[in-house]
Point group: C2
Chain length 526, copies 2
Amino acid sequence: MTQHKVLINGSWRAADAERYFEPFSPNTGTTLTDSYPASSWADCDEALSAGREAFVQMQTTPRATIAKFLNDYADAIEANAGSLVEMAHLETGLPTNPRLADVEIPRTCGQLRQAAMAAQDASWTTPTIDSANNIRSMLQGIGPVAVFGPNNFPYAFGSASGGDFAAAIAAGNPVIAKANSSHPGTTRLFAELAHNAAKANGLPAATVQLIYATSRESGYKLVSDHRLGATGFTGSRPAGLALKEAADKAGIPIYLELSSVNPVVVLPGALAERGEAIAGEFTGSCTMAAGQLCTKPGLIVVPQGAAGDQFVSLAAAGFDNAPVGTLLSRYASGQIDDTVAKLTANGAVVVNSGSAADDSGRFCHATTLLSVDGQNFIDNGELFQTEMFGNASLIIRSASNEQTIAIISQLEGNLTGCIYSDTAGSDDEAYDAIEPALREKVGRLINDKMPTGVAVSAAMNHGGPFPSSGHPGFTAVGFPAAAKRFGALKCFDNVRENRLPEVLRDNNPSDNLWRLVDGQWTTANL
Amino acid sequence: MTQHKVLINGSWRAADAERYFEPFSPNTGTTLTDSYPASSWADCDEALSAGREAFVQMQTTPRATIAKFLNDYADAIEANAGSLVEMAHLETGLPTNPRLADVEIPRTCGQLRQAAMAAQDASWTTPTIDSANNIRSMLQGIGPVAVFGPNNFPYAFGSASGGDFAAAIAAGNPVIAKANSSHPGTTRLFAELAHNAAKANGLPAATVQLIYATSRESGYKLVSDHRLGATGFTGSRPAGLALKEAADKAGIPIYLELSSVNPVVVLPGALAERGEAIAGEFTGSCTMAAGQLCTKPGLIVVPQGAAGDQFVSLAAAGFDNAPVGTLLSRYASGQIDDTVAKLTANGAVVVNSGSAADDSGRFCHATTLLSVDGQNFIDNGELFQTEMFGNASLIIRSASNEQTIAIISQLEGNLTGCIYSDTAGSDDEAYDAIEPALREKVGRLINDKMPTGVAVSAAMNHGGPFPSSGHPGFTAVGFPAAAKRFGALKCFDNVRENRLPEVLRDNNPSDNLWRLVDGQWTTANL
């Protein structure tokens, strides 16, 4: 059994380990043979000091060097895609093709290259110049960033490869990656590639560091340490909120992407016009990746009546016919069972008859579709919006558009919300009535498609009102916005020009750098 | 004795009061005859519900209406300046001229008019359009905003008139103003003018609400209530951090501007070149407004040796000759005494001989200048950076530029930091060595002038690393940035064009609205 090493301050070395753990293979349910350390506080402490030192050095590292590192790293991921896909499939059970090889690798590399562009052109720094008063300000790096990735996107949200990693580096911050313990080997391979690319470009030794696990107490200490600049966390609500409490108390920013049930509303006209197609989209969106997506539609509001009944039948058949995906965690199936039991005990009914497809030992759960009466949902809103992280979803049968508004008003903050309406305009009045209620509950409002796709776009908001995220003003996906989370606002008042950061001097150092000069956005010199 | 009313949901009505209190006159030390209620939770609860309702209405209020309200309000303040100045002088002891009438009234009105422009042109919403993917996003209002103003700027940071108020309204949010209990009458006059201007423009009844005080428990409930969008707080660190803890736990954003000692570093060349002038600036900056400014230089690092001794003598004489300003609070003098006692017990010495100028009963304290050895500061950094909110300051005598860096490394986060260097260039090497250490500790880095002036500028950062503020990414002063604090990021994905907010449609609704379209900032249509 191989005991793997942590990456601290430029060295792969044995951890100061409190214990070791072996990940599971979701494909077989068995323990893998590689062993990973849970670091003591001593490892965290050393990583923090090294990260702080690297941060200081990175503030004078040329933007082009950071950009080249990110591009080189993306190239290295593509060159090593084979071993990355093999490892991630082993550790997560996610399908090799298309998911890992054809979707998530390209997305991850594209994201790193967008981050490289953001680092290069520096527009994320939002330079703002008041020439009359000679006051100039910009965002600069915030400090070392701890990244806690989720279990469901080993690449695109991975601690050493994903969106938070890319955004933190683009903003000039070293990263202390805490691997998700369900795929430590995948994260290790990424950290090796990242560290090699950083070293080749002459970046500080601690630009990328990696630990695999800590005690809870060490985790709280880590996110609240004054040497840390910020934390990016994607994962479960209890874990995220506990870290948030520790970080908040210390005044260290923490950006969280937590649970979301992503309500979808199907209006009567849309149901009449294209109910079957919508049922198909819904089924696909709930069952791909075994429903383990932060933007899976966990609730769908469908009118009562014959057309709605037909929708339920179609969706139920779709659920039954969908392949039973592999779940990431050995606990996921039981968690779904627990929630289904609670929901059915309170009046929800299971409307499909799926069963888990095999008894190979792999982690899985029958695709499960439930239905509940709208009034019951309103009466028990907290219970019925419990997230089921997997291939299960809940249909809410609404008696009227007014009831739909009342249903929505029960919801907590969510990442997304979607309204399907007909193309002829018969739903427009209902849309106008319902939209404000949904709009205030969600970060991204969608028309006429499922929420599962999350484009890496400057206009994306992958965030939303609490508790879907920790602050409604920020997105975890999309450049330059995602990088701004890891910046601190720095003002220079009456500072002599030769002492200013390059991007704040009279001459704009780049054709692609937009600056807000005396109220006008421009790429020109002063 | 007049028992004053609260303004809730458009009505001035008797509070549901837990008690009443009378403010003091700092000019005489006596109690004033007007009496103000401390509201029970019932008042807060009603204000929150009314605020939520007003918020929903404000989301469809034309931008021009909000702008006109802010402009009308500024006009009304100017028209009523006489009574505002009289009341504020009575309640705060701040000088009528120039301070209240000639500085703070114009600043406050200018700020409201800048907020009106921000509301009108909507650039604070930062519209971002990805035309290829048809994804569009912007900041929209965050919800009702609770504003807690400080005691030291009854107008420009006042709960119903100042920067947070203006920023919250500009971003389309109603305000629940919690008056600072040292100037409830001033805040009441402002709320009357604001409410009348809001009513005249047809804004929702609860656009501006006012309470004067609550129990601590009600304050914590208020900032953590799910009906609230955010809080803006300016004031003392203990009060602010207690509110922050409550708000953080509920996931409701809170923006804080807390204490700051605003270190100033005088380099040897600057001392030789213009030590006397700098001593004069320092004295003026510490004694104006009796030193009760969030950006007062509370620490100044001066080299050891003869030139530094001369600086200390000049500053001490300046302190002795400065008028003894009136303090805002009956407790301020004792708080300064306590801190001076602690500092002198640990080796600081008082270097001037000022005494309080009179025994009229007014609140005041002798201007007080202390000095401490650099190494002693390094050994007791936490103690020696205790804020003295008033006309007192501490000189740190540094043995070398290396020691100056060590002194700075002891500092907590501050709003500002300043370096004085000579014009001939002999300080340049020292500047380059010291600047990075200071830069990371402060929100605004200044050259060659004292930090007390805070321009209302788009490039201003009136904020800084914790604990000077609650988040290093935001400024409390300057438009459009200050308004962004009170916005939530809202994305529209595949939303039909006629359903989009006006600012996100293909046609730009304003010549002055900058939008980030496919990576380019532009005022053009799509």
